[in-house]
Amino acid sequence: MTSKFYKRLFLLPGLLLLIAIIIFPLLFTIRVSMANWNVSHSGLDWAGGANWARMFHDVNFWSSLFRLFYFSFITTTLQYILGFTAAMYAWKGFASRRFFRVLWLVPLMTTPSVMAIVWRSIFREDIGAANGLLSKIGIDPIAWSTQIFPATVTITIAEVWQWTPFMFLILLAGLLSLPKEQFLSAEIDGATPWRTFWSITFPLMAPISIGAIIIRLIEASKIFDSIFNLTSAGPGNSTETPAYYLYTRGLREFQISYGATMGLMYLILAILTLTILGQIFARVSKPRGI
């Protein structure tokens, strides 16, 4: 009995920490979402589901979610393709590969908000380097942040540049841990590099790829720094994502209860989406023998 008691006692610090940093904030957020806490009312009164009802009718919130799906899907796909390609090169080996491995990690080591500011100066339409280079080759300046499509491309470039090294790192680690036997058999059987890739490398890498994609999707769903610094969600609201929308409503305008409501919905949707995606990826990878 005493030993059981002490075992539980040892769990207590972890449990208290869990309550302090996860359980309590979550419960508190749920409670706040059912109050009227705003700029002129600071009490935790009872508003029932008013904020939830308002959110379901908030077109801007839902459209920001659709935009997020687009940004997450596009940027993660590009990061995966580029990261995998680079990892394959680094895995197969080429001159100075150690140097390039380190070089590839530089974007990952820079602070996202700082990089976003650097990208902003590159994509400035009046004095930015991007338009400067384009003008050297006779191309008209592009409205990188003031027209809808170029603004979307700008955000995508910044995100892909920043996070492709993450994919590279995970996938390279996966490639280096693959068993050698299948590759030796394929070589003996005279398989072409393309056939070897599709029939051995890619299927073997599926579990690692799924993990890397899921982690990136979780990260991509929080996209904020690049949008805040590059476009301020514009032009119009064409690059506004839920994180930016929440920041504006909740922190800038101090709609605390409404911000809490959107935050919770965002959390629920993220958990649901990523669970479903995880299941789909797992099923898709099964027929290939994984």
């Binding site: 009312h41 032009p235 609201n237």
Partner: protein, 551 residues
């Protein structure tokens, strides 16, 4: 066994109590701050600064580069002069100041804070936070009934949200021998709430037109304009004329144009979350502020939002049309971009704060001596929200200058050392410090007092041309006496109301919605905000705005 039982019971009881407390609303935050008193105040000591001495800003404890070249200024005779402050002993006491980062306000707070500490022996801690954090930091602290600061730097348009948390500035500072006695009544009004001074006015602002004289006053440009439009070239009286001139001279090459700089029609603030709503207010003001309507610019007497009335829609339509004449990248300009763009000679016009004016008058500006100031354009028609018809203004043009918010400062009621905070702010704003801050553009301090509105101060002090300076002073005097002015929506939730405007205007500027549809959406959001904050609460606060509008 007993211990295990107790632990198990505790594991059930604690979370249950926690959840029950949360659901029942036991965890409430304090909406009103208790007055923590004035603090011990100063002891008396012998003066360490002689009466009427010259103040050398290059030899102060904190001398940033901008102050290093500042001229010597003679100490004043008011209550908070260097001499009078040096007789106050605050040793052992400290105050904390919440301020933005240098240079705007952050730098003078550090500069004068360090000198105040040297003169009095007290300690002034300046806590810098990004400008965007000034509001949420204060709101969070005040709503929970505390204030970690004794002085807060803020904007006057927040008065509706914060006035209940701010200490009333005693009248001795705003009258008699007080440092703010000579502040113009217009600005004293802005810093007051229900007759009580809530802000220690360290700056004052307004929006006005800046135009290039090497176009507007150039005979060749006038001939070009006549040829293109059939009209006479002069300072634009209306926004329609402004747009026509901006479009005509977009791509023109003025005589004094800096080499390698393309010339466009207008540099404006257009970035959604970077003060773009203030540019919009200028654009709509003369179309929607009717001098014969005394029931309000923002709401009517029944608190129906006017933000989508035809006057506002016309202003936004003009704003959208001007997009064709902005410089490259002009669709994503925040305030600092607008200042830089105009200062380097990108455009014919610009029309917001004083900063672009100061920038273009600096000796190192490529367009120095080629810029003059004028009141912002008016409109040839003005909407009457009572008759629901357009009125033709007397004299053909309706003017409605926008007296925009500027930097200010306050003392939280919850501060435990209000006397020292008052003495510090008063020292910050003394005649000598105010004069030197005015001459350094990056401090963010702009003219607000009678003595600031003299040509000599600027011509002799900064080397500005007499003619240009006179145009600027005439503009400011015009605004001070104007009878049809627009003020910020100084009510609780100002940020939300302006945020909704920014959202709507951005949609229209991006072509995602028509001006009417965008402003209809804004009006619907305003109704929602009114319901959330409380219509009566906003209406009561709005009476303060009406007093200013009808003054």
């Amino acid at each position: 066994m007993q211990k295990a039982k107790k632990l198990r019971a505790l594991a059930v009881v604690v979370p249950t109590v926690l959840i029950a407390s949360l659901l029942s609303g036991t965890f409430t935050t304090g909406a009103t701050a208790a007055d923590s008193g004035m603090g011990p105040g100063p002891k008396k000591k012998a003066a360490t600064f002689a009466v009427g001495s010259l103040i050398d800003y290059t030899k102060q404890p904190y001398t940033p580069k901008a102050y290093a070249s500042a001229a010597k200024v003679k100490d004043g005779t008011q209550d908070c002069s260097y001499h009078n402050t040096s007789m106050k002993d605050y040793s052992g006491q400290k105050i904390t100041v919440l301020a933005p980062p240098p240079p705007n306000m952050g730098e003078p707070m550090e500069q004068h804070g360090a000198m105040f500490a040297k003169l009095t022996g007290g300690k002034v801690i300046v806590q810098h936070v990004p400008v965007g954090d000034l509001y949420p930091k204060q709101q969070t602290a005040f709503q929970t009934g505390v204030s970690p600061w004794d002085v807060v730097v803020n904007f006057s348009n927040w008065i509706g949200d914060f006035q209940q948390y701010y200490y009333d500035i005693p009248t001795k500072y705003t009258s008699g021998n007080g440092e703010l006695a000579s502040m113009l009544p217009l600005y004293k009004g802005i810093y007051s709430w229900n007759g009580k001074t809530k802000f220690f006015g360290i700056d004052a602002d307004r929006h006005f037109l800046k135009y290039r004289t090497d176009v507007i006053e150039d005979p060749a440009a006038a001939a070009f304009y006549k040829d293109k439009t059939g009209k006479t070239l002069e300072v634009p009286k209306t926004w329609a004329e402004y747009n026509l001139m901006a479009s005509t001279f977009n791509g023109y090459k003025p005589k004094g144009q800096p080499a390698g700089t393309a010339f466009a029609g207008s540099s404006e603030i257009t970035k959604r979350d970077d003060l773009m709503s203030t540019a919009f207010i200028n654009r709509v003001a003369p179309y929607a502020k009717n001098p014969n309507v005394k029931t309000g610019f923002w709401f009517d007497k029944n608190m129906v939002p006017q933000v989508n009335n035809p006057g506002f829609v016309q202003g936004l339509t003009d704003f959208v049309a001007s997009a064709k004449y902005w410089p490259q990248g002009g669709g994503n300009f925040g305030l600092s971009d607008e200042i830089t763009s105009y200062g380097r000679g990108d455009s014919l016009f610009s029309y917001t704060w004083d900063d672009a004016w100061s920038q273009s008058n600096q000796s190192d500006s490529p367009i120095v001596g080629k810029v003059k100031a004028a009141p912002n354009p008016g409109a040839e028609k003005v909407w009457n929200s009572e008759t629901k018809k357009w009125d033709t203004p007397a004299g053909g043009v309706n003017r409605a200058p926008y007296i925009a918010w500027g930097w200010s400062s306050s003392i939280p009621v919850a501060s435990k050392n209000k006397q020292m905070a008052l003495d510090f702010l008063c020292f910050f704003a003394n005649k000598a410090n105010h004069a030197i801050d005015l001459t350094i553009g990056r401090t963010g301090v702009n003219p607000s007092r009678t003595e600031d509105f003299t040509t000599d101060f600027w011509v002799k002090g900064l080397g500005w041309s007499t003619e240009a300076t006179q145009s600027w002073i005439d503009t400011m005097n015009n605004y001070s006496t104007a009878k049809n002015r627009v003020f910020d929506l100084r009510v609780p939730g100002n940020g939300q109301f302006m945020g909704a405007i920014a959202d709507g205007v951005a949609l229209a500027l991006a072509g995602q919605k028509t001006p009417q549809a965008a402003l209809d959406e804004v009006a619907a959001k305003w109704v929602e905000i009114l319901n959330t904050i409380g219509k009566d609460k906003v209406k009561a606060a709005y009476q303060n705005v009406l007093k200013l509008e009808n003054s």
